[in-house]
């Protein structure tokens, strides 16, 4: 076994499409497409964060601070739309695009051109949606777009049309990507990589892609009907039709979408915890089954977003119980993660700090979810700031902390340089504090009766103090992000090359150079367990200890 090195010679003469920007336009390399996804969704993260900042500045004090009510409604609508459709989902697609072929020992995705198509369709859909800022007014009816509010009567103008078309296009890209992931993982695993030796991140992407593939068409159908209502005068979701039907269709997609956004983070955590505890993942099979279980249960709980619309009580009971049961596989995951660290040799490097914080924060999001899944309690808490707090503990405390862990962990692999550990820790503590200051008080405001999506509130309701605290927290979060950007910049400037395997990793991506060559691997180590690189290190150590017997 030797270290893998260098690029193989390019067999044809480089042309105009092999250099500079043109090479990015023409690329079908999963790593470059992954990076384009990451950069694009990163830019949309900045846009979404800016919109969130507008919302928080407006709510810091009662009365008008900055923007009017219509602009405010546009801001939170586009904030959520951006963060869900243009940041979290595509960011995981990007990270998965880069890592999954490496982790399963493949040379690329199964359909490289389809992969490029997915990205370009995504980019087009995202830009199309954002062009509503230029050609008129963006949608202002919430990311849930409930009719009749989104009918052309109550939302005239093109904003909602752009929103629908944008989501349709981005959703199409998402489905194309999901097919690609499924075929790649099914067919392109390296020899020896059985299903039960596959890295958990690849498992997470596998289940996530199934959710995308089975859930997104439902949203596509619903949005097309809504578009018909708006443009052709149909009555699917008007008062003459059945407005609640849209909510069923919407949440049939959008509840699984929560797992589309969080399962990859579960995968990241399942990769980082073993490496930084120097132990195998505790209960690998249980984690696989828990991931699949969450995927299946995720399709059976959509109506818990609708406990106040007047569903049949028996249906509510079923949806409530199914919802609560998601806590079981999630709990299985938590206990396995904790026992992965337990008795280990834990190193709290920045990726691990973000991972532990992920566990803590997602735990809070999970527990608050049990309140909301509880029908009678939801009659009180539904559509309050409690929900806003809950969902941010899941999607920020979960997905975004998971992404931060992923970036600090895989940055050397992606860019060949290590992010600075000291700055990383400053980033971590600022983000943890800012996050909790921003989102924990939302639970308090929720039980104090503050509805979500309100532009303003009366000063005598006892809501001022915590709203102000939340806005301060938001500013700290902003500083945390700037620290991260500074880390990226200083890392680039210092230009210290990272080794192939800086963390003593376990999975195949650490077997190649940082960053990997276009063809990924010169040769693969044998895959005899779910930790091929540890097997490789042990084999090498054995050879060093007994050179005469280990020599080939």
């Amino acid at each position: 076994m030797t270290t893998i090195s260098g690029d193989v010679a390019v067999l044809r003469k480089p042309g105009v499409w092999d250099k500079g920007i043109a090479s990015w336009l023409a690329t079908v390399d999963h790593k470059r497409i992954g990076l384009m996804y990451i950069v694009t969704s990163g830019i949309f993260f900045v846009a979404g964060a800016y919109l969130a900042l507008l919302v928080r500045l407006e709510l810091a004090l009662p009365g008008r601070q900055l923007i009017g009510p219509d602009t405010y409604n546009q801001a939170f609508t586009m904030h959520a739309t951006t963060m869900i459709f243009l940041f979290v989902i595509p960011m995981w697609v990007g990270i998965g695009n880069y890592l999954v072929p490496l982790m399963i020992g493949a040379i690329d995705m199964a359909f490289p051109r389809l992969n490029a198509l997915s990205y370009w369709v995504f980019l087009f859909g995202a830009l199309f949606m954002y062009s509503s800022f230029l050609v008129g007014t963006p949608a202002a009816a919430g990311w849930t777009s409930y009719p009749p509010l989104t009918n052309n009567v109550y939302s005239p103008g093109v904003g909602v049309d752009f929103w629908i078309a944008g989501v349709l296009i981005v959703g199409t890209a998402s489905m194309l990507g999901a097919v690609n992931f499924l075929v790649t993982i099914w067919n392109l695993r390296a020899p020896g990589m059985t299903w039960m030796r596959m890295p958990m991140f690849a498992w997470a992407q596998f289940v996530t892609s199934q959710l995308v593939l089975f859930a997104t068409p439902m949203l596509t159908g619903g949005l097309i009907l809504l578009l018909f209502d708006r443009t052709l005068g149909t009555h699917f979701f008007t008062a003459d039709g059945y407005p609640v039907l849209f909510q069923h269709i919407f949440w049939f997609y959008s509840h699984p979408a929560v797992y589309i956004m969080i399962l990859p983070a579960f995968g990241v955590v399942s990769e980082i915890l073993p490496v930084f505890s120097r132990k195998p993942l505790f209960g690998y099979k249980a984690l696989v089954f828990a991931t699949a279980g969450i995927g299946i249960l995720g399709f059976l709980v959509w109506a818990h977003h609708m406990f106040t619309v007047g569903l049949n009580p028996n249906a509510q009971l079923v949806f409530m119980t199914a919802t609560m049961f998601i806590a079981v596989p999630t709990g299985v995951k938590f206990f396995n993660w904790i026992f992965t660290m337990w008795g280990g040799s834990v190193r709290l490097a920045t990726p691990m700090l973000f991972t532990v914080a992920f566990l803590s924060m997602f735990l809070i999001g999970g527990i608050s979810g049990v309140y909301l899944g509880n029908v009678p309690i939801d009659w009180q808490l539904h559509d309050t700031y409690y929900v806003v707090g809950h969902l941010h503990y899941v999607l920020f405390g979960g997905s975004v902390f998971g992404m931060a862990a992923a970036f600090y962990y895989w940055w050397p692999k992606l860019f060949g340089k290590m992010l600075d550990e000291g700055i990383g820790k400053v980033h971590f503590w600022l983000q943890l504090i800012g996050f909790n200051l921003t989102f924990f008080p939302m639970h308090i405001l929720g039980v104090r009766g503050m509805p979500r999506r309100i532009y303003d509130y009366a000063p005598d309701r006892g809501w001022v103090f915590w709203n102000f605290v939340e806005t301060v927290g938001t500013l700290i979060l902003g500083v945390a992000f700037l620290v991260f950007l500074y880390n990226v910049w200083i890392t680039r400037k210092r230009n210290v090359p990272a080794p192939s395997d800086p963390w003593d990793g376990y999975t195949l991506e650490w077997a190649t150079t940082s960053p990997p060559p276009a063809h990924n691997f010169d040769r693969l180590p044998p895959i005899l367990s779910e930790r091929p690189l540890r097997d490789l290190r042990l084999a090498r150590a054995a050879r060093v200890a007994a050179p005469q017997s280990g020599e080939r």
């Binding site: 409604n73 505790f282 009659w379």
Partner: protein, 439 residues
């Protein structure tokens, strides 16, 4: 690095404590007008709060155990040096897997059972239709149509129409049917009951209107608000529920049910106001009046198909607030509103105005002439927030769940000494400042 983190956390805690000490308690613990879930004023809300507290007890135990395990596992097994030997490689434990699958499943079933009991109580209870109020959501206010069989006859209940201020008797079940005439709204008074959505078309669509019911146990004013995004002024779609002793409520309802007479003296400012109101306001608002001939005349232009539908103006001057509960019903506020509603509430659907101050004064005089007797109205105007001792709200529930289970009873005990407080004149300054700010 962990030391740095710990120092940061301690520092943060100190800053928090300082902030805590320096902040008025109303800001931290809520004000008398905070519509907190734990300040219950009905059995329905008290039951929901009790369930919330039970779940909180379970949640706190789970949180402490799991969070403790996470921190212990992360901090208790730190690597001392990079030369540490590789720890024992445990791959899993099937017994543990079974345990931590079965125990959470049992907890979940228990929680589901608690909720099932509560749902059963809610759905099985036969709510008397003695007092049925239809709350109709419009962008952006709530209209209330009463049908009270106790004050009328079972076959011909007393009916009346109002908006933004829902006056109810204490200790009598009230059933609220929830309707919408445009988009989806949600009717919510946290201290009295959970929320229900107002789905347009439900009345005629065959799937039925949603309803809630409650029986207020303490006189007072309880804040409500639309809880489903409904457009520009979703935030300005507020209302309050005023619970009065039966006699005071009956006097108010009987007075409100009488259709007032249209002014007849052509020289009076009221008559001038009536004329202006018919032409300017009548496009969107309804006025029910007894005309010169004696019959009830609904003065409205209501050009068919108008999307805009303002609240019934007949007894508007008898309500405490207007414009979706955003402004107090004072002459000054009405003048500002009539002069330029878009300045006070940009984007409001009221697109006309009465720029001439004299004409506006006439309109206001006319509307005030239709108000019910001031003595009958006095208890409504005086109703203040329920005087409940400040507690920690959400935070407090974690610590004092069991004690809070009968929060409603606590409210009873405080009621006697809180009475004079509740009836104290309300502070007008904040509304003036609201007007100031919205400008």
């Amino acid at each position: 690095m962990v030391a740095l983190g710990a120092a940061l956390l301690v520092g943060l805690a100190l800053v928090g404590l300082l902030a805590f000490a320096a902040t008025p308690s109303s800001a931290l613990f809520g004000t008398a007008r905070t519509p907190s879930l734990s300040r219950t004023a009905s059995d329905v809300a008290a039951d929901l709060n009790a369930l919330y507290n039970r779940v909180t007890w379970i949640a706190v135990v789970i949180f402490v155990l799991v969070q403790g395990a996470i921190l212990y596992a992360a901090l208790g097994f730190r690597r001392k040096s990079e030369d540490d030997p590789e720890p024992v490689q445990t791959h899993g434990n099937n017994t543990l897997e079974v345990i931590w699958t079965v125990i959470p499943s049992l907890i979940v079933l228990g929680l589901a059972f608690l909720s099932y009991r509560e749902m059963r109580a809610e759905y099985v209870t036969e709510v008397p239709d003695d007092l049925v109020i239809t709350a109709t959501g419009y962008r952006w206010y709530w209209a209330f149509d009463y049908a009270d069989k106790t004050l009328g006859e079972p076959s011909a209940p007393l009916t009346l129409t109002t908006a933004t201020e829902l006056v109810i008797p204490v200790n009598r079940p009230v059933k609220v049917l929830i309707d919408s005439q445009d988009v989806i709204h949600s009717f919510w008074v946290p201290q009295l009951a959970g929320k229900r959505d107002a789905v347009p078309g439900a009345r005629d669509g065959g799937y039925g209107m949603n309803s809630v019911w409650f029986e207020a146990d303490t006189p007072g004013r309880y804040e409500g608000q639309c809880a489903e995004l409904c457009g520009t002024w979703h935030s300005g779609m507020r209302f309050s529920v005023v619970a009065l002793p039966e006699a005071e409520y009956a006097a108010w309802a009987r007075a409100m049910a009488v259709v007032p007479k249209a002014p007849t003296d052509a020289a009076s400012p009221e008559y001038a106001g009536f004329t202006t109101a018919k032409t300017v306001c009548g496009a969107c608002h309804i006025l029910d009046l007894v005309g010169p001939g004696g019959g009830v005349v609904t003065e409205t232009l209501q050009a068919g198909g108008s999307l805009t539908r303002g609240p019934n103006l007949t007894r508007v001057a008898s309500r405490s607030h207007f414009a979706g509960g955003m402004f107090e019903m004072t002459d000054a506020n009405l003048h500002s509103w009539l002069a330029d509603p878009q300045a006070l509430k940009p984007g409001t659907l009221m697109s006309v105005n009465v720029p001439d101050p004299k004409a506006a004064a006439d309109v206001i005089a006319f509307l005030k002439s239709l108000a019910i007797d001031a003595a009958v109205l006095a208890p409504v105007r005086a109703a203040g927030p329920q005087n409940v001792p400040n507690d920690l709200d959400g935070l407090g529930e974690i610590g004092g769940g069991a004690a809070d289970e009968h929060g409603g009873d606590g409210a009873h005990e405080d009621e006697a000494e809180g009475e004079h407080d509740a009836r104290a004149p309300r502070d007008d300054t904040h509304l003036a400042s609201t007007l100031e700010r919205t400008r």
